[in-house]
C-alpha cells in the first residue's frame, strides 16, 4: 500500500518568511492533492498535480511535483497569519481512471508568529 511521509511534522515561522513543506511517497504519485485544515475542521482544497515536473501557484502558495512523481513540495512565500493550519498531502495510488481512494500524509502543522 502507498505511504506518504510529510516533513516537517510541525513548523514555526515568523510572519513574512518563506517556508517549504515536503510530501514523499513510497510509490509513484498519479495524482497529488494538497489540502489545508484548521484543527478539527474540514479540508480546504489547495491544488492538484498530476504530471511529472508540474508546478502550480495560487496567490502566495506554489506546489510542485518532481519529475519522478514521488515527491511534492508546497512553498509559501511571505507567510501571513492566515496561512497557519495543518497542511495535508493526499495521493491517488494508480492511474487506472477508476475509483481510486486517496491516501493521506500525517500532516504538517504550521504556526505563524508575529
Amino acid at each position: 500500500s502507498q505511504e506518504l511521509e510529510q516533513s516537517p511534522q510541525s513548523l514555526i515561522v515568523q510572519e513574512g518568511k518563506n517556508l517549504t513543506i515536503n510530501c514523499t511517497s513510497s510509490k509513484t504519485l498519479y495524482g497529488l492533492y494538497w489540502y489545508k485544515q484548521k484543527y478539527g475542521e474540514g479540508l480546504i482544497f489547495l491544488m492538484m498535480l498530476q504530471k511529472g515536473g508540474e508546478e502550480k501557484s495560487h496567490e502566495k502558495i506554489t506546489a510542485k511535483l518532481d519529475e519522478k512523481k514521488q515527491q511534492s513540495s508546497l512553498h509559501i512565500t511571505a507567510s501571513q497569519p492566515s496561512h497557519a493550519g495543518i497542511y495535508l498531502c493526499g495521493a491517488d495510488g494508480s492511474d487506472n481512471f477508476g475509483n481510486e481512494k486517496l491516501t493521506f500524509g500525517t500532516g504538517t502543522r504550521l504556526t505563524i508568529i508575529p
Binding site: 478539527g40 482544497f45 492538484m48 493526499g90 475509483n99 481510486e100 481512494k101 486517496l102
Partner: protein, 117 residues
C-alpha cells in the same frame, strides 16, 4: 462553485446507538467516498461507492458500518452500534470522471463531528 454538503455538522450519541451521517454529493459526480479522521490523526479511507455498490472498503469498515444511496442524491453512512472509538470527524467526498476517461479531483464536504459518549 458546487459543494458536497454534509449533515449534521455535529452529532453526539450514546454508545450502542445507531447513527446515520448524511451527505449530498455534487449532482454529476459518479464516485462517492467516506473518510474519517480521529482528532490529531491521519485522514483514513473507509469506503468507496460507485454504480450503487461498494467498490472498495478498508479494514475499519466492518459489519457495523453500511452505506446507501437511497434516492439518487443522498449518500449515507450508518454505524449500527456506536463505540467510543468511533468518535471522529467523518468526511464525505465525491469525484467525477471527466470526458475521455481522465479522472478529476476530489471534492470533500466540511465533515460531521461524531462524539460517542
Amino acid at each position: 462553485e458546487p459543494e458536497v454538503t454534509q449533515t449534521p455538522s455535529h452529532q453526539v450519541t450514546q454508545m450502542g446507538q445507531e447513527v446515520i451521517l448524511r451527505c449530498v454529493p455534487i449532482s454529476n459526480h459518479l464516485y462517492f467516498y467516506w473518510y474519517r479522521q480521529i482528532l490529531g490523526q491521519k485522514v483514513e479511507f473507509l469506503v468507496s461507492f460507485y454504480n450503487n455498490e461498494i467498490s472498495e472498503k478498508s479494514e475499519i469498515f466492518d459489519d457495523q458500518f453500511s452505506v446507501e444511496r437511497p434516492d439518487g442524491s443522498n449518500f449515507t453512512l450508518k454505524i449500527r452500534s456506536t463505540k467510543l472509538e468511533d468518535s471522529a470527524m467523518y468526511f464525505c467526498a465525491s469525484r467525477i470522471l471527466r470526458p475521455g476517461g481522465k479522472h478529476y479531483g476530489y471534492t470533500f464536504g466540511s465533515g460531521t463531528r461524531l462524539t460517542v459518549v
